[in-house]
Amino acid sequence: MAVGEVVVERDEHAWVVTLRGEHDMSTNPSLRDALHEVFGRGSKVVVDFSEVEFIDSTVLRALAYGRKEAVEHAGHELVIVAPSGSFVRRVLRLTGIDAMLSVYQTRTDALVAN
């Protein structure tokens, strides 16, 4: 099982934060670090979980932080990529977070969504 990796890239219309592997309290840098960095520059943020095998509550707290940032600041937006049936999608559904955030099947869907 792979150690967690966080990659931040700039797309034409958004910052894309790609996570790979497993993410828990030991992952460094964390999703929260990445979200803090990109929201500091404004814009739409896409968090792509397509290649993630595991997340714990530290990742959910980071998403809650991201949602709060997006709600409180005009021009900030947070959308999620988590394919149906994936571990991440199951956890988002279990906790009801999928109802609070826009969750898409693919990165392409997330990038074109408004």
């Binding site: 099982m1 150690v3 497993e22 828990d24 309290m25 030991s26 595991f54 714990d56 509550s57 530290t58 959910l60 707290r61 809650a64 932080y65 949602r67 709060k68 709600v71 571990f87 199951r90 956890v91 559904r93 279990l94 906790t95 009801g96 977070i97 609070m100």
Partner: protein, 170 residues
């Protein structure tokens, strides 16, 4: 009748110093469950073990201390026990279960029933033996049963209202 399982010990250190042990324990537990507890939802087990171990690492100690994890495979369930010694956990429980423990309660059959009663849940979690008083305090035993029949992941749980406010407790 032989039951499978395993036991692991690690050192938990405050301030995230021992965070690296959490994925190690998760991998070890999942490997044993996959081999010896057929039917257990490995995704649910991975999440439960991670949250409980992280809780000990985060809350139990002001200086490094032990973290014990035990798994016993029963005919219809896997029983996972996570144990730490030290201080700090009682205060976090008094503020209410954070999202990590709420996830455990949602996924693990017996922990879910304990969590339905706050008083019983507190007693179960704090788990301080009379014999331990005045000597080494037990941080808490978290013993959970993960059933082999069906997955509780399908259940949508209405978590604490703090989640909707975007402020999640630990």
């Amino acid at each position: 009748m032989r039951h499978g399982g395993g036991r692991w010990a690690a050192l938990a250190a405050p301030g995230g110093g021992a965070a690296g042990h959490v994925p190690e324990i998760r991998h070890a537990v999942v490997d044993v469950l996959a081999r010896e507890c057929p039917g257990v939802d490995l995704s649910a087990a991975a999440l439960v073990v991670t949250e409980l171990a992280a809780n000990v690492v985060t809350h139990a100690y002001v200086k490094p201390g032990p973290l014990d994890v035990e798994v016993v495979c029963e005919p219809d369930a896997a029983v996972v026990t996570v144990r730490g010694w030290g201080r700090g956990f009682g205060r976090s429980i008094r503020r209410g279960m954070g999202i990590g423990l709420q996830i455990v309660a949602a996924l693990a059959e017996s922990f879910a029933s304990m969590a339905s009663s706050r008083r019983r849940s507190r007693r179960a979690w704090l788990g301080r033996d009379r014999a331990d008083r005045g000597r080494r305090r037990r941080h808490g035993d978290a013993r959970v049963r993960i059933l082999t029949a069906g997955s509780r992941f399908a259940k949508i749980v209405a978590l604490d209202r703090r989640l909707r406010q975007g402020v999640l407790s630990e």
